[in-house]
């Protein structure tokens, strides 16, 4: 009973506008004080520090650093040109480019809002100029940006992996097929709309242009090869892969493209550090809440009460999906992961659900949560670039949301979609 009140106090504080990390800390402090008095506070100070020393999470600031180097070093613009030369000739080409570009830019700066602002400011006005409806442009940009978080490297996956003790490398591998599947389905959806509304081609297919763009982007494309090859090949951990990405991006930016813009890089780095710390403070304070939850065995009690109801894996996964969807409507992605993982993990383990599959399911739910108002920062950003109404855009977004839901259901009910590659390699 007390545990429920402690958790309730946290949600009340979040609801009235206390920053989420401090709401978590406040309720955890109340909890440990009830258990152990002021000695509990000392324990809390120890765990909040320890919570911030999780080694796998070092990958987050390093990927953010690599992203800042890519964006300011001319790597990103070449990747966009390459995608454009590759798929721009199809009907509705610009929409396809939008999907393709988003795959490369998955949460690269650590802030979904900043990424959508960066890619959306280029693509949405271009789409409007070519006769795409603003609402369509906003909805597509928003949905593809969210799909991108299940394609590695993905910050929500790093968070989930570190919190649940699941291999981050395996999560990255598991995200590939669902991510590509989602991208193909979104592109198919775009093609359908392109034919129906007679949307334009970007330009004719030009082998010469494609060759030129490929040659220009070939250095840029080394980057994913280095990161993913190193990580998947087992040469380096996810964290070290991130460090390799930093040094590769720095090398390409300084010696090959020679475009690194120092003031812009500094700015991007500071923003990246802020974004990293916001997420990390949530992780650190949730360690204190974890301390309290462990002492009271609340997650185990919750697991028991749900397994009393049903032990059918699929039914439980459905309950969790619906719960996460509701949480995603009112909480930002990282906060949703940090709050739900410690509570659900005992249940997932007890039922024998594969933690890698569960991680992909969780990440897809986070992606969906970014599309569901009222709290949907990615969608809201895309809408304000396109100058469209959030709720009207959500109606246009429904087919794209349906694609995300379809991928989620496939991942939930067909474990092979996320696990085949993992089983093949590991």
């Amino acid at each position: 009973m007390t545990e429920a009140l402690v958790l309730l106090s946290m949600f009340v504080m979040i609801g009235i506008g206390v920053p989420i990390a401090l709401s978590i800390m406040a309720s955890a402090l109340i909890g440990v004080w009830l258990l152990n008095g002021s000695l509990g506070f000392l324990n809390a100070a120890l765990s909040v520090f320890d919570g911030a020393t999780k080694f796998p999470l070092i990958a987050i600031p390093l990927f953010v650093l690599a992203g800042a180097l890519m964006n300011t070093g001319g790597i990103s613009t070449r990747l966009i040109a390459f995608v454009s030369a590759l798929v721009g000739f199809v009907r509705g080409g610009l929409a396809m480019v939008n999907v393709g570009v988003s795959l490369f830019f998955a949460e690269i700066s650590g802030s979904a809002v900043a990424d959508v602002a960066a890619t959306g400011s280029v693509l949405i006005p271009a789409m409007k100029k070519k006769g795409y409806k603003p609402r369509f442009a906003a909805a597509l940009t928003s949905s593809t940006a969210s799909l991108a978080i299940i394609i590695p490297p993905s910050i929500p996956m790093i968070l989930y992996g570190a919190l649940s003790g699941t291999s981050i490398v395996q999560l990255f591998v598991a995200g590939i097929i669902p991510g590509l599947l989602g991208a193909i389905l979104l592109m198919a959806m775009c093609y359908y709309f392109a034919v129906r509304y007679n949307l334009p081609r970007e330009e004719g297919f030009d082998l010469c242009r494609l060759w030129h763009a490929t040659r220009e982007a070939s250095w840029a494309m080394i980057l994913p090869v280095v990161i993913l090859g190193g990580i998947f090949g087992g040469f380096v951990t996810a964290t070290e892969g991130a460090a390799l990405a930093v040094i590769t991006a720095l090398f390409i930016g300084v010696f090959i493209y020679r475009e690194i813009d120092l003031p812009k890089l500094y700015h991007a780095l500071v923003d990246g550090v802020v974004q990293t710390s916001i997420v990390m403070l949530l992780v650190a304070t949730s360690a204190v809440l974890g301390l309290y939850l462990t002492e009271t065995e609340m997650p185990q009690k919750l697991a028991a009460s749900i397994t009393d109801l049903t032990t059918n894996k699929l039914a439980v996964l459905m309950i969790i999906n619906i719960f996460l969807l509701l949480v995603g409507m009112v909480l930002h992605g990282a906060a949703a992961i940090i709050l739900t993982v410690p509570i659900f993990m005992p249940l997932v383990n007890q039922l024998g659900i594969d933690p890698v599959q569960f991680g992909i399911l969780l990440t897809l739910n986070i992606a969906l949560g970014q599309q569901t108002p009222p709290v949907a920062s990615v969608l809201v950003t895309a809408c304000s670039i396109a100058k469209t109404d959030v709720w009207a855009t959500t109606r246009t977004n429904l087919p794209f949301i349906a694609v995300l839901v379809l991928v989620l259901l496939l991942v939930t009910y067909v474990p092979a979609i996320s696990l085949t590659l993992v089983n093949l390699f590991y």
Binding site: I14, G15, I16, G17, V18, P19, I20, A21, L22, M25, A26, L29, F41, L42, A44, A45, F49, A52, T53, K54, F55, I58, P61, L62, L65, V113, A114, A117, S121, V122, T239, E240, A242, A243, L244, V246, I247, Y266, V270, D271, V273, V274, T276, S277, I278, M280, L281, A284, V330, L331, H332, A334, A335, P374, V375, S377, V380, T381, S384, I385
Partner: protein, 183 residues
């Protein structure tokens, strides 16, 4: 992101970026030495501590920019009186949590005595963990000094998320405009 207290912001920028660069170098050294056959024994522990330092100093930086994740839907849906009342309650909770963190963070330092890091024997544990109370004090400072400005936002009813989105878009547009000029 706008910063409220400029000198504090610049100080924290320098501190956090220095630690970030140090962290990248440590991890790269860790890989290099492992492949050359002499793994560094201090690599994991030092890297993890650097991450914690970025976390807490960066959290103070984020506080100075009012950038911490939060839900403001209810607060900004209320009429003026309600907004002000809720604002006061929220500030009290924030300061209480930070004050307890400072107190507890400071008292555990005494418990460490002459303890050092496991792999770096000259580094006292009290210095390593002392970052927590120091950062919490900086957070209180940032929160306190930015209060008048944040209060005026609450009065006007401009919520931080809308402000962040406006600023990010304005910045992306400005960058595009400079690129066009260069062409």
């Amino acid at each position: 992101m706008r910063s409220f207290v400029r000198p504090l912001d610049v100080f924290l920028q320098v501190v956090t970026l220095t630690i970030l660069i140090a962290l990248a170098i440590v991890v790269l050294m860790g890989i290099a030495f492992r492949y050359s056959g002499n793994s560094l024994i201090w690599y994991d522990e030092v890297a993890a501590v650097l991450l914690a330092w970025i976390t807490f100093f960066g959290a103070a930086l984020a506080m100075n920019r009012d950038a911490h994740m939060g839900f403001n839907g209810l607060l900004y849906a209320l009429p003026l009186k309600g907004r002000l009342a809720l604002f006061a309650i929220v500030e009290c909770i924030v300061f209480a949590v930070l004050a307890i963190t400072v107190w507890a963070g400071w008292h555990i330092l005494e418990l460490f005595g002459d303890d050092t890091m496991t792999s770096v024997r000259w580094m006292p544990r009290a210095v390593v963990q002392g970052v927590l109370p120091v950062a919490a004090v900086l957070m209180m400072l940032a929160r306190g000094l930015s209060m008048p400005e944040r209060l005026s936002f609450v009065r006007e009813g401009r919520d931080p998320e809308a402000r962040e989105i406006e600023e990010e878009i304005a910045r992306a547009r400005a960058e595009l405009a400079t690129k066009e000029d260069l062409k």
